[in-house]
Amino acid sequence: MTGEPTEDDHLLAQLREQASRLVAEVDGPLRRIRMRSGNAVVEIEWHGAATPAEAGPALPTDAVVRPVSAVSGTPVAAGSGADAASRDCVVAPMVGTFYRAAEPGASPFVEVGDLVEPGQVIGIVEAMKLMNHITAEHAGKVAEVLVGNGEPVEFNQPLIALVSA
């Protein structure tokens, strides 16, 4: 890496990337997007005013403000763990079983103190017999591994905590 990007640079880059991804994903026309990183809140406002109950597939004409949950790697204020809010946690994107290594007996993907790069695999969540590689979305130092090998995890559960390197 050339030049040390600051935490703000990372955050901005991430917000930009998330925003463009969101715009690509949602049905327009959009009126406003608000993003906050403290509690990882994303608000999207469509043109119009109706707020349908989500009982089934929504039609593109629906206009509603929907908070969108954080995906893995984004900073989340984890409900458990000390001062989780001040650290970035890589969270489980699905319900499943967390594995720290590629196979039994192999060395773990990451250990406390390791520096991780964006896109680096930090573990696996097995769900419905599928192995899903979990990656860090941005760089940092592993401060804590929050889930033991082979333990069940729920959606959005913090797996590892990162601090700025």
Binding site: A50, T51, P52, A53, E54, A55, G56, P57, L59, V64, V65, R66, P67, V68, S69, G79, M94, V95, G96, T97, A127, M128, P152, E154, F155, N156, Q157
Partner: protein, 470 residues
């Protein structure tokens, strides 16, 4: 019986199922989305697993996450409640493939009955009367219009894969048919990913009468009487009562017997509801079979004394039916109303928000099924049903007065929060409703009566227009 059961639902029905499990000594797993983390059922259940974000397609409709949660917690069965995955044959099959008991009928039975057009054909073969119309789906507008012209207008175009009151269009004249047909198929493709439709005679003045059945899949079955659900707005039920009022005992018996015959003919198992339309001459016509516990199931519980969720669990464990038809006694009258967080004054627009005050009614023969609590935040993500108020009385007039009293007691308040209670009270006050002589057009009439246009209305009768009830 199962040791542990996962509840694949949320809100009042999830809590209702959890309570039944507690009574039977079954441990419960509540699955929830990120926004339901602090919900009543999560607090009540023995364990909970977060399965996804707020959007239900990634959480409550996420079969993989639900199965994974069941595997993780060691649950042996899944109760799907109503809505969400409750009538999804694929989900039922996935449960079976993973060694889990799905509380509901067999997947193949669900698949057949989920296709409304195939269900019609099967019920016709079982000798149930149908409304005039097509039994097969109609692939071209020409074919469909020919059927409509033959049976006479108004007709209703229905989506074979539809349900829950969605995906139907009423057509009043031949001139509107082609456009309505195209529109219905477009909506069906978007909502149900299946654009097959069929055409039926539409009865504007009919009554929606349904029958609760329990079958064990070993050939045993009982019916538990009728419910009238004619108070509807846009095919969504607002008030339900049992037994259906103002119908002769002979008609009620004939409808119930037909319902049970129909359910048994397709090898139904578990709790199901067979829906009929009844015309002014008390002729009844089969509409559809619902393969789930229904929102209005407490009405039947109150008049029969049978706990339908207990029976669902008993039957799902593979046991034979433990109730004989001659043991089913219908006593008195029960009426349920749905309390939705919607503003009747603004076309029933959902009004999510925090409930600063939430004090449900109580008192004799008064049951409230709700997940609401003081401080509960009604979010914008899910159905707006907040509570069901159900009352019982030995006769209908007292039941109406009791429900009125209960609704008066219900204290719900929060910034921007409105409920359907004021509108329900107008329904209960309506002379047609009080007499028990009402049909599916009652709500539309009430709304028309209350409509105050900006300019003086043109009144064809010469009577002054009805004042707006506020």
């Amino acid at each position: 019986m199962f040791e542990k059961l996962l509840i694949a639902n949320r809100g009042e029905i999830a809590l209702r199922v959890a309570r039944a499990c507690r009574e039977l000594g079954i441990r419960t797993v509540a699955v929830h989305s990120t926004v339901d983390r602090d919900s009543a059922v999560v607090r009540y259940a023995d364990e909970s697993v977060c399965i996804g974000p707020a959007a239900s397609r990634h959480s409550y409709l996420n079969a993989a996450a639900i199965i994974e949660a069941a595997r993780q917690t060691g649950a042996g069965a899944i109760h799907p409640g109503y809505g969400f995955l409750s009538e999804d044959p694929d989900f039922a099959e996935i449960c079976a493939d993973n060694g889990l008991v799905f509380v509901g009928p067999r997947p193949e039975v669900m698949a057949v009955l989920g296709d409304k057009s195939r269900a019609r054909a099967l019920m016709r073969d079982a000798g149930l009367p149908l409304l005039p119309g097509s039994v097969e789906t109609l692939a071209t507008v020409g074919e469909a219009r020919a059927v409509a012209d033959e049976i006479g207008y108004p007709v209703i175009i229905k989506v074979a894969a539809g349900g829950g009151g969605r995906g139907m269009t009423v057509v009043w004249s031949a001139a509107d048919f082609a456009r309505a047909y195209a529109h219905t198929r477009t909506v069906a493709r978007a909502v149900f990913a299946d654009d097959r439709v069929y055409v039926e005679r539409y009865l504007p003045q009919a009554r929606h009468v349904e029958v609760q059945v329990l079958c064990d899949g070993h050939g045993g079955g009982v019916h538990l009487g009728t419910r009238d659900c004619s108070v509807q707005r846009r095919h969504q039920k607002l008030v339900e009562e049992g037994p259906a009022p103002a119908l002769s005992a002979g008609t009620l018996d004939a409808i119930a017997a037909a319902a049970l015959r129909g359910a048994l003919s397709v090898g139904y198992s578990g709790a199901g509801t067979v829906e009929f339309l009844v015309d002014e001459a008390e002729r009844f016509h089969f509409m559809e079979i619902n393969c789930r516990i229904q929102v209005e199931h407490p009405v039947t519980e109150m008049i029969t004394g049978v706990d339908l969720v207990h029976e669902q669990l008993h039957l799902a464990s593979g046991a034979p039916l433990r109730i004989r038809q001659d043991e089913v006694q219908l006593r008195g009258v029960a009426i349920e109303c749905r309390v939705n967080v919607e503003d009747p004054e603004r076309d029933f627009l959902p009004t999510p928000g925090r409930l600063d005050r939430f004090q449900p009614p109580a008192g004799p023969f008064t049951r409230v099924d709700t997940h609401g609590t003081p401080g509960y935040v009604v979010g914008p993500h899910y159905d707006s049903l907040l509570a069901k108020v159900v009352v019982w009385a030995p006769e209908r007039t007292l039941a109406l007065d009791r429900l009125e009293r209960a609704l008066e007691e219900f204290d719900i308040a929060g910034p921007g929060v409105h409920t359907t209670i004021p509108f329900i009270r107008r329904v209960l006050d309506d002379a047609r409703f009080r007499k028990g002589r009402y049909s599916t057009d009652l709500v539309d009439r009430l709304l028309r009566d209350a409509d105050t246009p900006a300019k003086p209305p043109v009144d064809r009768t010469g009577e002054p227009a009805a004042p707006t009830a506020r």
